[in-house]
């Protein structure tokens, strides 16, 4: 472990005040000894940098998928006082509301007699990769409505089922969305891209439930052994990227205007309730709603393919849940002995609200919010549930994925994409991508083992495993 960091418990570590100048609170991160060699000094520095921001509450936090990002580390979580704190695009990222959702089917592994044909059909149907364009033709008014209403807009346009709405975090709509704060440039980028997967680590995966750890919770989530599911991982595409770029520029000036000292320009920020802070929050919320619609449109495409190929009803493919990875939210949490509204930033982290909370859909309320943790190609994904412990210790947050351990360049040189594809095929996993290079970059070896990451959040009690899913076929952008 790095010098100057103190062990708090089996899987929890503290970065003390003073690790970098100006820290207002300590940093805390969750990692096992087993994964400690994956920890980058740069990521810890970023975690400590976040602790210097005004109004930061209790700790700057990071989950076990921690790695270097920009501004905040990936895996970073920080909450800020509503009155004295800040909002920062560095705590959200360029891909606003990049997230993941899980759709179930009534099929079992035995029903997928020709997995290659299924994957090819999904690849043909879902626009994928750099430069992919949507089949939807949105007017400017459509885009305004979509950004204001999120998943509701999609359902109103026949792109899903009413039940999808309640099975999304925030019911697929941040009500603070302000489309007027989204620039013309962002709109130009967003109009042709709604319903496209993108590239990089984004994917569409057909999976089978191969282990059930908590039968009661699995039943509540509608999951059973052998069941075929689909996982979708993508975000707000060019619209969200441009919102981040545009508002970073504005918030840079605001940082100076409000006399806020920051150790990294990517942490540009403004008071939560300042004109600049509110404009960013409104635009970010609009981009978050766009991202939910993006995943909803892809869900519709997936259901249409399954209905056509397997003769099952659209309604037989409910959404388990949709979680956001890159977002800031106004949430009520207990802090310093009382409940208050905080601006919680999660940058490559997942909300993991515990049982009994109003924000958890009624059907899951006794269990806690479903938490979806994707693995890498060839490694297992998990569904967990949120806990009261997460509410107490991490503002209701947990990890968002396996976390990279190898650079994309190194991964490309380590194993050619074709070889990765063939190795995965030998394990019964079909990979379809726009290029072999993108397969190489996302090779399983480039990531921490998802089992180990999930084990850390289990040991810390931040979320508890419900089921494990094994990949059948993967589509990469």
């Amino acid at each position: 472990m790095l010098e100057g960091i103190e062990k708090i418990s089996e899987v929890e570590w503290e970065v003390p005040v003073g690790y970098v100048p100006g820290m207002r609170v300590p940093g805390r991160f969750f990692l096992s000894e087993d994964l400690s060699e994956t920890l980058e000094a740069g990521a810890v520095q970023q975690l400590a940098n976040v602790a210097t921001l005004p109004g930061v509450v209790r700790y700057s936090l990071a989950m076990p998928d921690i790695h270097s990002g920009y501004g905040f580390p990936i895996g970073g979580v920080a909450a800020f006082e509503e009155d004295t704190g800040v909002v920062s695009p560095g705590g959200v990222g360029y891909d606003i509301n990049c997230g993941v959702r899980l759709i179930t089917t009534p099929l079992t592994v035995a029903d997928i007699t020709n997995p290659r044909a299924l994957i090819e059909e999904l690849f043909r149907t879902v626009p994928t990769g750099v430069g992919a364009e949507s089949t939807m033709r949105l007017s400017e008014a459509d885009l305004d409505d979509l950004m204001a209403d999120g998943v509701e807009w999609a359902i109103d346009h026949g792109l899903g089922m009413e039940s999808d709405i309640v099975h999304c975090e925030e019911q697929g709509k941040m009500k603070q969305a302000n489309p007027a704060a989204v620039s013309k440039k962002a709109r130009q980028r967003g109009r042709p891209q709604a319903g496209t997967l993108g590239s990089g680590n984004h994917f569409l995966e057909v999976q089978a439930v191969d282990a059930v750890f908590d039968p009661e919770a699995a039943k509540a989530f509608g999951l059973a052994t052998g069941q075929i599911c689909c996982m979708v991982h993508c975000g707000s595409r060019g619209l969200g990227h441009q919102v981040c770029t545009d508002h970073l520029r504005v918030l840079e000036s605001a940082t100076r205007k409000y006399g806020i000292e920051i150790p990294d320009r990517q942490l540009a920020c403004a008071p939560v309730h300042s004109p600049e802070g509110e404009a960013y929050f409104g635009a970010m919320a609009a981009a978050a709603n766009y991202a939910w619609v993006n995943r909803q449109v892809i869900t519709h495409q997936v259901r249409t393919v399954f209905a056509r190929l397997f003769g099952i009803a659209y309604e037989e493919m409910p959404l388990v849940y949709d979680v956001a990875h890159n977002v800031a939210k106004m949430e009520e949490h207990a802090a310093y002995g009382k409940r208050r509204t905080l601006c919680v930033h999660r940058k490559g982290a997942t909300r993991a609200f515990g049982p009994g909370l109003h924000d958890v859909p009624q059907v899951y309320r006794a269990v806690g919010q479903p938490v979806i943790i994707p693995g890498s190609m060839g490694s297992s994904s998990y569904v967990l549930h949120g806990t009261a412990t997460a509410m107490e210790r991490t503002f209701g947050s947990t990890c968002h994925g396996a976390g990279r351990v190898m650079s994309r360049t190194k991964a490309k040189h380590a194993t050619p994409g074709r070889q990765v594809r063939e190795q995965l095929l030998k394990q019964g996993i079909i990979v379809r991508a726009t290029s072999d290079a993108s397969i190489a970059e996302e090779a399983p070896d480039a990531y921490k083992e998802s089992d180990k990451v999930v084990d850390v959040v289990r040991l810390a009690g931040l979320s508890l495993p419900v089921v494990r899913l094994h990949p059948v076929g993967v589509i990469k952008g």
Partner: protein, 135 residues
């Protein structure tokens, strides 16, 4: 090539070298398009863009962000850049070819150009920059 990829666990960090500041910015743009589209050939499409910023690091971010925007919206893959910098203003004439799915789709989308770790400095006779792209 006068740019190289540096190790970074999640995103893409490049080091760019050039004989002067104008060429440095042009090389940074070449690096970005190489990441996104892998193959970037000469073409007949031409765009002229002017960017003004508060300082030189911001100028680099704003310049690359603007090219990213134009490339995506106009569906153009740029390959060569004539850059002229005066103070903290920049004018670029960028040339390239139309985006073609079968030729250009294999790269990585650049989501943004980060201030984190951005450096622009002199190394002897050369101008250098290290830039982190969020992909």
């Amino acid at each position: 090539m006068s740019f190289e990829e540096l190790p970074h666990q999640a995103d893409v960090r490049v080091r760019v070298r050039a004989e002067d500041c104008n060429a440095l910015f042009a090389e940074a743009a070449r690096a970005m398009f190489s990441i996104m589209y892998v193959t970037c050939d000469e073409g007949e499409i031409e765009r002229s863009i002017t960017v003004t910023s508060d300082d030189i690091p911001s100028l680099m971010i704003d310049f690359l962000s603007e090219l990213l925007f134009v490339s995506e919206v106009d569906r153009v893959v740029f390959s060569s850049f004539d850059v002229s910098i005066t103070g903290t203003s920049l004018t670029v004439t960028a040339r390239g070819e139309p985006f073609a799915r079968e030729k250009h789709q294999g790269g990585m989308e650049v989501k943004g150009v980060s201030y984190s770790g951005l450096t622009i400095f002199r190394d002897g006779e050369e101008f250098c920059s290290e830039i982190l792209f969020d992909v």
